[in-house]
Amino acid sequence: MSASAWAAFVVACSLGAVARYLVDGGLQGRVAQRFPWGIWVVNVSGSLLLGILVGLNQHSHLAGVPLTIAGTGFCGAYTTFSTLAVQTVELAEDGRASKAALNALGSLTAGLVAGAAGLWLGGHS
């Protein structure tokens, strides 16, 4: 990647992380605190967006470097796996087994559906 592409990648990662913080904080303040809906919504929405970007790329509307910046950079940093894992373990330790299962399996299922929907949307546009 060129110097400007690297700069754009770094900025995209920063924006993704800040967007996650703001969306999570904004949502988590509005809903019940007993379930981590903020990260749930971040992960599912980011999966839809990455699916769309990759779907577009399959028809070469968006070539390698832009996909690296927007997909790997922004979507990769916006969504997170480590927080999902730690929050799930904390729910389980707190005796909320069904919420832990819903968090882990629900995120994964909804993320897979959102990603597939994004791939379809991107591939058909």
């Binding site: 940093a77 997170t80 927080t83 330790e93 707190d94 597939a116």
Partner: protein
């Protein structure tokens, strides 16, 4: 621990410029590390995305450690969680790449690899997060909590 002791959300999140700058700096570092791992670890012969797998497992272990470290050693720190947890480890690990890679494996007929990848990422990631929390509680015992 009272809920939510999670690394990312707070009932009233601090949106000050210093916190957002710490998250942005951490996010840049985490994203670059993830990119580096992706360059270093090629997919397996069956298309198994080892780079994302190891990124997510190692990041979950580290986040477990950081969560305990932040609560028990640096409860007053304003930058530790934003920089290390939300920024570096939040951006280092990724959920969207995991699910889209799984979708693509399934779409190209690698159904068993897709199922194995998604299931093993979840199981290993949860085990890693649990290990990190346990290790953190051993390294930084409760009695030191103020």
């Amino acid at each position: 621990m009272t809920y939510p002791p999670n690394p990312d959300s707070h009932p009233s999140p601090d949106r000050g410029p210093a916190v957002l700058a710490a998250i942005a700096a951490g996010g840049a570092l985490g994203g670059l590390c993830r990119y580096g791992v992706a360059q270093a670890l090629p997919p397996g012969g069956d298309g198994f995305p080892w780079a994302t797998f190891w990124t997510n497992v190692s990041g979950s272990l580290l986040l477990g450690l950081v969560v305990v470290l932040a609560v028990r050693r640096f409860p007053e720190s304003r930058w530790m969680r934003p920089f290390l947890a939300t920024g570096v480890l939040g951006a280092y690990t990724t959920f969207s790449t995991l699910v889209v890679e799984t979708d693509l494996l399934a779409a190209h007929g690698y159904d068993s690899t897709a199922a194995l990848y998604a299931a093993s990422s979840l199981v290993a990631g949860l085990a890693a997060a649990w290990t990190g929390l346990m290790l953190g509680r051993i390294l930084w015992p409760e009695c030191s909590e103020r």
